[in-house]
Symmetry: C2
Subunit: 225 residues, 2 copies
DNA sequence: TAGATTGTTAATCGATTAACAATC
DNA sequence: TAGATTGTTAATCGATTAACAATC
Protein backbone atom coordinates (compact mmCIF):
# COMPACT_ATOMS: atom_id res chain seq x y z
CA UNK A 1 0.00 0.00 0.00
CA UNK A 2 1.48 3.26 -1.17
CA UNK A 3 -1.29 5.45 0.22
CA UNK A 4 -0.44 6.92 3.59
CA UNK A 5 3.29 6.88 3.01
CA UNK A 6 4.75 10.13 4.30
CA UNK A 7 7.16 10.35 1.40
CA UNK A 8 6.12 13.35 -0.63
CA UNK A 9 5.94 12.51 -4.28
CA UNK A 10 7.36 15.69 -5.78
CA UNK A 11 9.71 16.69 -3.01
CA UNK A 12 12.35 18.32 -5.20
CA UNK A 13 10.00 20.55 -7.15
CA UNK A 14 10.24 24.23 -6.28
CA UNK A 15 7.30 26.39 -5.28
CA UNK A 16 7.79 28.59 -8.36
CA UNK A 17 7.11 25.61 -10.58
CA UNK A 18 4.09 24.45 -8.60
CA UNK A 19 2.53 27.89 -8.74
CA UNK A 20 2.71 27.85 -12.53
CA UNK A 21 0.86 24.55 -12.88
CA UNK A 22 -2.66 25.97 -12.52
CA UNK A 23 -1.91 28.45 -15.26
CA UNK A 24 -0.77 25.69 -17.61
CA UNK A 25 -3.95 23.88 -16.69
CA UNK A 26 -6.07 26.89 -17.61
CA UNK A 27 -4.38 27.41 -20.95
CA UNK A 28 -4.62 23.74 -21.84
CA UNK A 29 -8.35 23.82 -21.17
CA UNK A 30 -8.52 26.81 -23.48
CA UNK A 31 -6.82 24.78 -26.21
CA UNK A 32 -9.16 21.85 -25.69
CA UNK A 33 -12.13 24.17 -26.07
CA UNK A 34 -10.65 25.33 -29.36
CA UNK A 35 -10.23 21.71 -30.46
CA UNK A 36 -6.46 21.93 -30.54
CA UNK A 37 -5.08 18.51 -29.70
CA UNK A 38 -1.36 18.98 -30.15
CA UNK A 39 1.03 21.73 -29.20
CA UNK A 40 4.77 22.32 -29.09
CA UNK A 41 6.52 24.02 -26.20
CA UNK A 42 7.35 26.82 -28.64
CA UNK A 43 3.73 27.48 -29.56
CA UNK A 44 2.53 27.21 -25.97
CA UNK A 45 5.29 29.56 -24.87
CA UNK A 46 4.12 32.20 -27.33
CA UNK A 47 0.54 31.81 -26.14
CA UNK A 48 1.43 32.04 -22.46
CA UNK A 49 4.20 34.60 -22.77
CA UNK A 50 6.87 32.26 -21.42
CA UNK A 51 9.96 30.65 -22.92
CA UNK A 52 9.78 27.21 -24.48
CA UNK A 53 12.70 26.23 -22.26
CA UNK A 54 10.79 27.04 -19.13
CA UNK A 55 7.78 25.03 -20.18
CA UNK A 56 9.92 21.98 -20.93
CA UNK A 57 11.82 22.38 -17.66
CA UNK A 58 8.63 22.78 -15.67
CA UNK A 59 6.88 19.78 -17.14
CA UNK A 60 9.95 17.59 -16.86
CA UNK A 61 9.90 18.00 -13.11
CA UNK A 62 6.97 15.61 -13.18
CA UNK A 63 7.74 13.36 -16.11
CA UNK A 64 8.35 13.26 -19.83
CA UNK A 65 4.94 14.10 -21.20
CA UNK A 66 6.03 15.12 -24.68
CA UNK A 67 7.33 13.35 -27.70
CA UNK A 68 10.34 14.41 -29.73
CA UNK A 69 9.48 15.75 -33.13
CA UNK A 70 5.79 15.99 -32.21
CA UNK A 71 5.25 18.10 -29.12
CA UNK A 72 2.64 17.51 -26.45
CA UNK A 73 -0.76 15.91 -26.62
CA UNK A 74 -3.03 18.58 -25.15
CA UNK A 75 -5.62 16.27 -23.63
CA UNK A 76 -3.08 13.93 -22.10
CA UNK A 77 -1.07 16.81 -20.64
CA UNK A 78 -4.24 18.38 -19.25
CA UNK A 79 -5.11 15.14 -17.48
CA UNK A 80 -1.58 14.74 -16.18
CA UNK A 81 -1.55 18.19 -14.62
CA UNK A 82 -4.95 17.56 -13.04
CA UNK A 83 -3.48 14.44 -11.50
CA UNK A 84 -0.31 16.13 -10.32
CA UNK A 85 -2.33 18.88 -8.65
CA UNK A 86 -4.71 16.32 -7.17
CA UNK A 87 -7.75 17.97 -8.72
CA UNK A 88 -9.16 14.54 -9.47
CA UNK A 89 -9.66 13.98 -5.75
CA UNK A 90 -11.95 15.88 -3.37
CA UNK A 91 -10.78 17.62 -0.20
CA UNK A 92 -13.39 18.27 2.48
CA UNK A 93 -13.46 21.97 3.15
CA UNK A 94 -15.18 24.37 5.51
CA UNK A 95 -15.78 28.09 5.19
CA UNK A 96 -15.41 30.31 8.23
CA UNK A 97 -17.13 33.66 7.87
CA UNK A 98 -20.22 34.11 5.72
CA UNK A 99 -20.05 37.87 5.22
CA UNK A 100 -19.86 39.57 1.83
CA UNK A 101 -16.65 37.92 0.83
CA UNK A 102 -17.35 34.50 2.32
CA UNK A 103 -20.67 34.26 0.51
CA UNK A 104 -19.12 35.34 -2.76
CA UNK A 105 -16.39 32.73 -2.41
CA UNK A 106 -18.94 30.03 -1.60
CA UNK A 107 -21.03 30.94 -4.62
CA UNK A 108 -18.35 31.87 -7.09
CA UNK A 109 -15.58 29.30 -6.71
CA UNK A 110 -16.12 26.00 -8.51
CA UNK A 111 -14.82 23.81 -5.72
CA UNK A 112 -15.82 20.52 -7.28
CA UNK A 113 -13.88 21.30 -10.46
CA UNK A 114 -10.61 21.95 -8.69
CA UNK A 115 -10.34 19.21 -6.10
CA UNK A 116 -12.48 20.42 -3.21
CA UNK A 117 -15.85 19.83 -1.63
CA UNK A 118 -17.41 22.52 0.51
CA UNK A 119 -19.06 20.69 3.38
CA UNK A 120 -19.71 23.28 6.06
CA UNK A 121 -20.16 27.03 6.55
CA UNK A 122 -19.77 28.81 9.89
CA UNK A 123 -20.35 32.29 11.24
CA UNK A 124 -20.95 34.04 14.55
CA UNK A 125 -23.59 36.49 13.34
CA UNK A 126 -27.08 35.28 14.40
CA UNK A 127 -28.58 36.98 11.33
CA UNK A 128 -26.49 34.76 9.10
CA UNK A 129 -26.62 31.49 11.04
CA UNK A 130 -29.43 29.32 9.69
CA UNK A 131 -29.30 30.73 6.18
CA UNK A 132 -28.91 28.35 3.30
CA UNK A 133 -26.01 28.74 0.89
CA UNK A 134 -25.50 26.29 -1.94
CA UNK A 135 -27.55 23.77 -0.01
CA UNK A 136 -25.49 24.19 3.14
CA UNK A 137 -27.01 25.55 6.33
CA UNK A 138 -24.77 28.15 7.98
CA UNK A 139 -23.88 26.96 11.49
CA UNK A 140 -22.65 28.86 14.49
CA UNK A 141 -18.92 28.76 15.08
CA UNK A 142 -19.59 27.18 18.47
CA UNK A 143 -20.49 23.95 16.67
CA UNK A 144 -17.17 23.80 14.83
CA UNK A 145 -15.45 21.22 17.00
CA UNK A 146 -18.39 18.86 16.89
CA UNK A 147 -18.55 19.20 13.11
CA UNK A 148 -14.84 18.63 12.63
CA UNK A 149 -14.79 15.54 14.81
CA UNK A 150 -17.60 14.05 12.81
CA UNK A 151 -16.64 15.13 9.30
CA UNK A 152 -12.87 15.59 9.48
CA UNK A 153 -12.49 18.44 6.99
CA UNK A 154 -8.91 19.04 5.89
CA UNK A 155 -9.09 22.63 4.65
CA UNK A 156 -10.58 25.82 6.08
CA UNK A 157 -11.30 28.99 4.15
CA UNK A 158 -10.94 32.05 6.36
CA UNK A 159 -13.14 34.99 5.44
CA UNK A 160 -13.06 36.55 8.87
CA UNK A 161 -11.80 39.84 10.31
CA UNK A 162 -8.13 40.24 10.98
CA UNK A 163 -8.71 40.49 14.72
CA UNK A 164 -10.06 36.97 15.14
CA UNK A 165 -8.03 35.24 12.44
CA UNK A 166 -5.19 33.94 14.60
CA UNK A 167 -7.41 32.61 17.37
CA UNK A 168 -9.69 30.75 14.98
CA UNK A 169 -6.64 29.37 13.20
CA UNK A 170 -5.24 27.97 16.41
CA UNK A 171 -8.54 26.27 17.18
CA UNK A 172 -8.80 24.84 13.70
CA UNK A 173 -5.28 23.44 13.78
CA UNK A 174 -6.21 21.66 17.00
CA UNK A 175 -9.30 20.33 15.26
CA UNK A 176 -7.17 18.74 12.57
CA UNK A 177 -7.27 21.30 9.75
CA UNK A 178 -4.23 20.83 7.51
CA UNK A 179 -4.60 23.70 5.06
CA UNK A 180 -5.83 27.27 5.20
CA UNK A 181 -7.03 29.45 2.37
CA UNK A 182 -6.67 32.74 4.14
CA UNK A 183 -8.53 35.87 3.01
CA UNK A 184 -8.22 37.76 6.29
CA UNK A 185 -5.96 40.81 6.18
CA UNK A 186 -3.54 39.09 8.49
CA UNK A 187 -0.65 36.68 8.04
CA UNK A 188 -1.80 33.85 10.25
CA UNK A 189 0.95 31.90 11.96
CA UNK A 190 1.04 28.15 12.20
CA UNK A 191 3.73 26.36 14.14
CA UNK A 192 3.18 22.86 12.82
CA UNK A 193 5.13 21.99 9.72
CA UNK A 194 2.38 19.70 8.50
CA UNK A 195 -0.05 22.58 8.10
CA UNK A 196 0.05 24.88 5.09
CA UNK A 197 -1.30 28.33 4.45
CA UNK A 198 -2.22 29.86 1.13
CA UNK A 199 -2.78 33.57 1.50
CA UNK A 200 -4.98 35.72 -0.71
CA UNK A 201 -4.24 39.27 0.30
CA UNK A 202 -6.55 41.23 -1.98
CA UNK A 203 -5.43 44.53 -0.53
CA UNK A 204 -1.79 43.73 -1.23
CA UNK A 205 -2.60 42.93 -4.81
CA UNK A 206 -4.47 46.19 -5.28
CA UNK A 207 -1.70 48.23 -3.65
CA UNK A 208 0.76 46.75 -6.14
CA UNK A 209 -1.48 48.02 -8.90
CA UNK A 210 -1.58 51.40 -7.19
CA UNK A 211 2.19 51.60 -7.34
CA UNK A 212 2.20 50.58 -10.99
CA UNK A 213 -0.32 53.22 -12.00
CA UNK A 214 1.63 56.01 -10.34
CA UNK A 215 4.79 54.78 -12.03
CA UNK A 216 3.03 54.97 -15.39
CA UNK A 217 1.70 58.40 -14.62
CA UNK A 218 5.19 59.52 -13.69
CA UNK A 219 3.81 60.86 -10.44
CA UNK A 220 6.47 62.32 -8.20
CA UNK A 221 5.89 63.75 -4.80
CA UNK A 222 9.32 65.25 -4.19
CA UNK A 223 9.63 67.79 -1.50
CA UNK A 224 9.26 70.84 -3.71
CA UNK A 225 12.39 72.96 -3.81
CA UNK B 1 6.29 70.89 -13.28
CA UNK B 2 7.29 67.38 -12.41
CA UNK B 3 3.84 65.87 -12.78
CA UNK B 4 3.29 64.29 -16.15
CA UNK B 5 6.94 63.49 -16.72
CA UNK B 6 7.23 60.02 -18.18
CA UNK B 7 10.32 59.25 -16.14
CA UNK B 8 9.37 56.53 -13.71
CA UNK B 9 10.62 57.25 -10.24
CA UNK B 10 11.64 53.77 -9.12
CA UNK B 11 12.63 52.33 -12.46
CA UNK B 12 15.38 50.04 -11.17
CA UNK B 13 13.32 48.37 -8.47
CA UNK B 14 12.36 44.78 -9.22
CA UNK B 15 8.83 43.44 -9.11
CA UNK B 16 9.75 41.08 -6.27
CA UNK B 17 10.57 44.04 -4.07
CA UNK B 18 7.43 45.98 -5.01
CA UNK B 19 5.23 43.02 -4.23
CA UNK B 20 6.64 42.86 -0.71
CA UNK B 21 5.87 46.49 0.09
CA UNK B 22 2.19 46.00 0.98
CA UNK B 23 3.18 43.29 3.42
CA UNK B 24 5.65 45.59 5.14
CA UNK B 25 2.89 48.17 5.24
CA UNK B 26 0.53 45.73 6.94
CA UNK B 27 3.02 44.67 9.55
CA UNK B 28 3.99 48.24 10.31
CA UNK B 29 0.35 49.09 10.91
CA UNK B 30 0.22 46.16 13.27
CA UNK B 31 3.16 47.59 15.21
CA UNK B 32 1.57 51.03 15.35
CA UNK B 33 -1.59 49.50 16.78
CA UNK B 34 0.56 47.86 19.44
CA UNK B 35 2.17 51.23 20.21
CA UNK B 36 5.59 50.09 19.06
CA UNK B 37 7.42 53.10 17.67
CA UNK B 38 10.84 51.74 16.90
CA UNK B 39 12.03 48.49 15.33
CA UNK B 40 15.27 47.02 14.03
CA UNK B 41 15.52 45.06 10.81
CA UNK B 42 16.38 42.06 12.95
CA UNK B 43 13.22 42.26 15.04
CA UNK B 44 11.03 42.97 12.02
CA UNK B 45 12.62 40.05 10.19
CA UNK B 46 11.71 37.70 13.00
CA UNK B 47 8.14 38.99 13.02
CA UNK B 48 7.70 38.71 9.27
CA UNK B 49 9.69 35.54 8.76
CA UNK B 50 12.26 37.21 6.53
CA UNK B 51 15.97 37.95 6.86
CA UNK B 52 17.15 41.26 8.24
CA UNK B 53 19.33 41.60 5.16
CA UNK B 54 16.38 41.39 2.86
CA UNK B 55 14.47 44.04 4.75
CA UNK B 56 17.38 46.45 4.63
CA UNK B 57 17.98 45.72 0.95
CA UNK B 58 14.30 46.18 0.12
CA UNK B 59 13.93 49.47 1.94
CA UNK B 60 17.16 50.85 0.59
CA UNK B 61 15.79 50.61 -2.92
CA UNK B 62 13.73 53.65 -1.99
CA UNK B 63 15.95 55.52 0.43
CA UNK B 64 17.74 55.30 3.73
CA UNK B 65 14.86 55.27 6.17
CA UNK B 66 16.75 53.86 9.14
CA UNK B 67 19.33 55.16 11.51
CA UNK B 68 22.50 53.31 12.47
CA UNK B 69 22.49 52.07 16.03
CA UNK B 70 18.77 52.78 16.37
CA UNK B 71 16.76 50.98 13.72
CA UNK B 72 13.64 52.31 12.03
CA UNK B 73 10.98 54.70 13.25
CA UNK B 74 7.80 52.72 12.71
CA UNK B 75 5.50 55.66 12.02
CA UNK B 76 7.89 57.36 9.64
CA UNK B 77 8.53 54.15 7.74
CA UNK B 78 4.80 53.45 7.52
CA UNK B 79 4.22 56.88 6.00
CA UNK B 80 7.12 56.46 3.60
CA UNK B 81 5.79 53.19 2.27
CA UNK B 82 2.32 54.69 1.86
CA UNK B 83 3.92 57.42 -0.21
CA UNK B 84 6.03 55.04 -2.30
CA UNK B 85 2.96 52.94 -3.10
CA UNK B 86 0.93 56.06 -3.82
CA UNK B 87 -1.73 55.14 -1.29
CA UNK B 88 -1.95 58.78 -0.26
CA UNK B 89 -3.48 59.60 -3.64
CA UNK B 90 -6.80 58.41 -5.06
CA UNK B 91 -7.20 56.58 -8.35
CA UNK B 92 -10.62 56.68 -10.00
CA UNK B 93 -11.81 53.14 -10.46
CA UNK B 94 -14.74 51.34 -12.02
CA UNK B 95 -16.08 47.88 -11.36
CA UNK B 96 -17.29 45.76 -14.27
CA UNK B 97 -19.56 42.92 -13.24
CA UNK B 98 -21.78 43.15 -10.17
CA UNK B 99 -22.37 39.45 -9.58
CA UNK B 100 -21.51 37.61 -6.38
CA UNK B 101 -17.85 38.38 -6.56
CA UNK B 102 -18.15 41.93 -7.88
CA UNK B 103 -20.53 42.90 -5.08
CA UNK B 104 -18.30 41.33 -2.46
CA UNK B 105 -15.28 43.21 -3.79
CA UNK B 106 -17.21 46.48 -3.83
CA UNK B 107 -18.36 45.99 -0.26
CA UNK B 108 -15.33 44.32 1.22
CA UNK B 109 -12.30 46.15 -0.15
CA UNK B 110 -11.40 49.42 1.59
CA UNK B 111 -10.59 51.33 -1.56
CA UNK B 112 -10.19 54.70 0.10
CA UNK B 113 -7.58 53.33 2.51
CA UNK B 114 -5.34 51.99 -0.22
CA UNK B 115 -5.27 54.69 -2.85
CA UNK B 116 -8.44 54.14 -4.83
CA UNK B 117 -11.90 55.61 -5.25
CA UNK B 118 -14.70 53.47 -6.64
CA UNK B 119 -16.69 55.76 -8.89
CA UNK B 120 -18.79 53.52 -11.12
CA UNK B 121 -20.26 50.02 -11.27
CA UNK B 122 -21.44 48.35 -14.46
CA UNK B 123 -23.26 45.17 -15.41
CA UNK B 124 -25.30 43.74 -18.26
CA UNK B 125 -27.92 41.96 -16.16
CA UNK B 126 -31.17 44.01 -16.06
CA UNK B 127 -31.95 42.63 -12.60
CA UNK B 128 -28.77 44.18 -11.28
CA UNK B 129 -28.73 47.46 -13.20
CA UNK B 130 -30.33 50.19 -11.10
CA UNK B 131 -29.41 48.65 -7.77
CA UNK B 132 -27.52 50.74 -5.28
CA UNK B 133 -24.17 49.57 -3.95
CA UNK B 134 -22.20 51.67 -1.54
CA UNK B 135 -24.07 54.71 -2.79
CA UNK B 136 -23.31 53.94 -6.42
CA UNK B 137 -26.08 53.09 -8.87
CA UNK B 138 -25.22 50.12 -11.05
CA UNK B 139 -25.27 51.21 -14.71
CA UNK B 140 -25.60 49.19 -17.86
CA UNK B 141 -22.34 48.40 -19.64
CA UNK B 142 -23.67 50.24 -22.68
CA UNK B 143 -23.13 53.50 -20.84
CA UNK B 144 -19.47 52.76 -20.19
CA UNK B 145 -17.98 54.92 -22.91
CA UNK B 146 -20.06 57.93 -21.93
CA UNK B 147 -19.05 57.48 -18.31
CA UNK B 148 -15.36 57.12 -19.11
CA UNK B 149 -15.27 60.18 -21.32
CA UNK B 150 -16.82 62.25 -18.57
CA UNK B 151 -15.06 60.82 -15.50
CA UNK B 152 -11.80 59.44 -16.87
CA UNK B 153 -11.31 56.50 -14.55
CA UNK B 154 -7.84 54.99 -14.66
CA UNK B 155 -8.47 51.52 -13.26
CA UNK B 156 -11.08 48.84 -14.01
CA UNK B 157 -11.88 45.86 -11.81
CA UNK B 158 -13.00 42.91 -13.89
CA UNK B 159 -15.44 40.56 -12.18
CA UNK B 160 -16.86 39.16 -15.37
CA UNK B 161 -16.98 35.73 -17.00
CA UNK B 162 -13.94 34.48 -18.81
CA UNK B 163 -15.77 34.52 -22.14
CA UNK B 164 -16.27 38.29 -22.25
CA UNK B 165 -13.12 39.36 -20.44
CA UNK B 166 -10.91 40.01 -23.46
CA UNK B 167 -13.53 41.94 -25.41
CA UNK B 168 -14.38 44.22 -22.49
CA UNK B 169 -10.68 44.73 -21.85
CA UNK B 170 -10.10 45.88 -25.41
CA UNK B 171 -12.95 48.36 -25.13
CA UNK B 172 -11.71 49.67 -21.81
CA UNK B 173 -8.18 50.17 -23.11
CA UNK B 174 -9.64 52.26 -25.92
CA UNK B 175 -11.58 54.23 -23.32
CA UNK B 176 -8.36 55.13 -21.53
CA UNK B 177 -8.15 52.57 -18.74
CA UNK B 178 -4.53 52.19 -17.64
CA UNK B 179 -4.76 49.39 -15.08
CA UNK B 180 -6.80 46.23 -14.66
CA UNK B 181 -7.50 44.30 -11.50
CA UNK B 182 -8.55 41.10 -13.15
CA UNK B 183 -10.65 38.47 -11.35
CA UNK B 184 -11.90 36.71 -14.46
CA UNK B 185 -10.54 33.22 -14.97
CA UNK B 186 -8.66 34.37 -18.02
CA UNK B 187 -5.29 35.97 -18.63
CA UNK B 188 -6.38 39.09 -20.48
CA UNK B 189 -3.95 40.37 -23.08
CA UNK B 190 -3.03 43.99 -23.48
CA UNK B 191 -0.78 45.14 -26.29
CA UNK B 192 0.00 48.62 -25.00
CA UNK B 193 3.01 48.87 -22.76
CA UNK B 194 1.46 51.69 -20.79
CA UNK B 195 -1.34 49.48 -19.49
CA UNK B 196 -0.81 47.11 -16.58
CA UNK B 197 -2.68 44.06 -15.39
CA UNK B 198 -2.81 42.68 -11.88
CA UNK B 199 -4.34 39.23 -11.89
CA UNK B 200 -6.17 37.62 -9.00
CA UNK B 201 -6.68 34.04 -10.04
CA UNK B 202 -8.52 32.60 -7.07
CA UNK B 203 -8.77 29.18 -8.66
CA UNK B 204 -5.02 29.03 -9.23
CA UNK B 205 -4.40 29.86 -5.61
CA UNK B 206 -6.75 27.14 -4.43
CA UNK B 207 -5.25 24.57 -6.78
CA UNK B 208 -1.84 25.29 -5.31
CA UNK B 209 -3.29 24.49 -1.90
CA UNK B 210 -4.77 21.32 -3.35
CA UNK B 211 -1.32 20.20 -4.45
CA UNK B 212 0.13 21.02 -1.05
CA UNK B 213 -2.48 19.03 0.85
CA UNK B 214 -1.93 15.93 -1.24
CA UNK B 215 1.80 16.25 -0.73
CA UNK B 216 1.24 16.37 3.02
CA UNK B 217 -1.03 13.38 2.85
CA UNK B 218 1.56 11.50 0.87
CA UNK B 219 -1.10 10.66 -1.69
CA UNK B 220 0.25 8.71 -4.61
CA UNK B 221 -1.75 7.55 -7.57
CA UNK B 222 0.83 5.29 -9.22
CA UNK B 223 -0.38 2.77 -11.71
CA UNK B 224 -0.69 -0.15 -9.34
CA UNK B 225 1.55 -3.13 -10.06
C1' DT C 1 33.38 56.12 24.08
C1' DA C 2 31.20 51.48 23.37
C1' DG C 3 27.31 49.17 21.51
C1' DA C 4 24.03 48.70 18.18
C1' DT C 5 22.39 48.66 13.80
C1' DT C 6 22.22 50.56 9.44
C1' DG C 7 23.59 50.99 4.29
C1' DT C 8 26.10 48.69 0.92
C1' DT C 9 29.26 45.62 -1.29
C1' DA C 10 30.50 40.85 -2.09
C1' DA C 11 29.23 35.86 -2.02
C1' DT C 12 25.83 32.48 -2.54
C1' DC C 13 21.99 30.45 -4.02
C1' DG C 14 18.19 29.43 -7.06
C1' DA C 15 15.59 30.14 -11.14
C1' DT C 16 15.49 31.06 -15.95
C1' DT C 17 17.37 30.69 -20.46
C1' DA C 18 20.27 28.74 -24.01
C1' DA C 19 22.26 24.93 -26.30
C1' DC C 20 22.38 20.50 -28.11
C1' DA C 21 22.38 15.54 -28.28
C1' DA C 22 18.68 12.10 -28.29
C1' DT C 23 14.83 10.48 -30.68
C1' DC C 24 10.32 10.38 -32.62
C1' DT D 1 15.93 9.47 -44.08
C1' DA D 2 15.27 14.50 -42.95
C1' DG D 3 12.86 17.64 -40.00
C1' DA D 4 11.03 18.73 -35.81
C1' DT D 5 10.95 18.98 -31.11
C1' DT D 6 11.76 17.00 -26.89
C1' DG D 7 14.56 16.04 -22.44
C1' DT D 8 18.51 17.51 -20.16
C1' DT D 9 22.87 19.59 -19.23
C1' DA D 10 25.42 23.88 -19.08
C1' DA D 11 25.49 29.05 -18.94
C1' DT D 12 23.38 33.14 -17.48
C1' DC D 13 20.85 35.98 -14.90
C1' DG D 14 18.60 37.77 -10.84
C1' DA D 15 17.38 37.54 -6.12
C1' DT D 16 18.64 36.48 -1.50
C1' DT D 17 21.91 36.20 2.12
C1' DA D 18 26.20 37.24 4.46
C1' DA D 19 29.69 40.34 5.81
C1' DC D 20 31.46 44.53 7.30
C1' DA D 21 32.73 49.32 7.24
C1' DA D 22 30.18 53.56 8.29
C1' DT D 23 27.83 56.00 11.73
C1' DC D 24 24.35 57.09 15.02
Amino acid sequence: MKRGSKLAQYEGVSASVIKRLPRYYRFLRGLIEKDIHRISSKELAKLMDLTASQIRQDLNCFGGFGQQGYGYNVNALYQQIAKILGIDKSIKTILIGAGNLGLAIANHVHFENIGFHLSGIFDVNPNVVGQNIKGIRVSHVSSLSEFCEKNKPQVAILCIPRETAQEITNNLVDLGIKGFWNFSHFDIKVHHDDVIVENVHLGDSLMTLCFGIHQLNGDTEDKQG
